[in-house]
Point group: C2
Chain length 102, copies 2
């Protein structure tokens, strides 16, 4: 299995971010071939206090080759363009990681 992980810091405009993420970004991301998305809203830390990230999106793929193919797809290009818009419009930063099984 291979994974793409996107961690967003807390947006300046969380309501605007949430609406855009739900109505525009996630539907676009879901067109990426071979990707199964899980989106988690971070609410805190085990010891209380503010979490370092606001939202985590993980896309899993059956293999590294599938991840590479997805990264090169027009759907991912469009999703990436929208992510850049999202971070700019709502005041958040995205940290992206790729990886595989431990």
């Amino acid at each position: 299995m291979a994974s793409l992980v996107v961690l967003y810091t807390k947006p300046a405009d969380p309501e605007g971010f949430d609406a855009h993420y739900r109505d525009t970004h996630l539907p676009l991301a879901q067109t990426v071939p071979g990707a199964t998305w899980t989106v988690t809203r971070m609410t805190g830390t085990p010891r209380g206090g503010d979490p370092a990230y606001y939202l985590m999106a993980t896309a899993t793929f059956a293999s590294d080759a599938d991840l590479q193919a997805a990264m090169a797809s027009p759907q991912m290009r469009e999703t990436g363009r929208d992510a850049a818009q999202l971070t700019k419009d709502y005041g958040t930063e995205a940290t992206m990681l790729v990886g595989g099984d431990f």
Copy 2:
């Protein structure tokens, strides 16, 4: 569904970390009631370059109540103690997050 996410920065001693994580830490974490663990080795970013984190561990639970019960369990206490040892012995920092469905 509810999640606990642990993000480790690159250890000073990756081989020592990997061995301890695989042979001691993950088996302990897997005793935590109600937790289903996924561990991902981060290898890069979509644009190349070093990833911000070395390893990501995610525990999912059927509900927030299950997550809360797990956090209060003796097994999680022991797992947390071992995580503190792991970060100290191998030179890494752990960022922990809890969350739920988007």
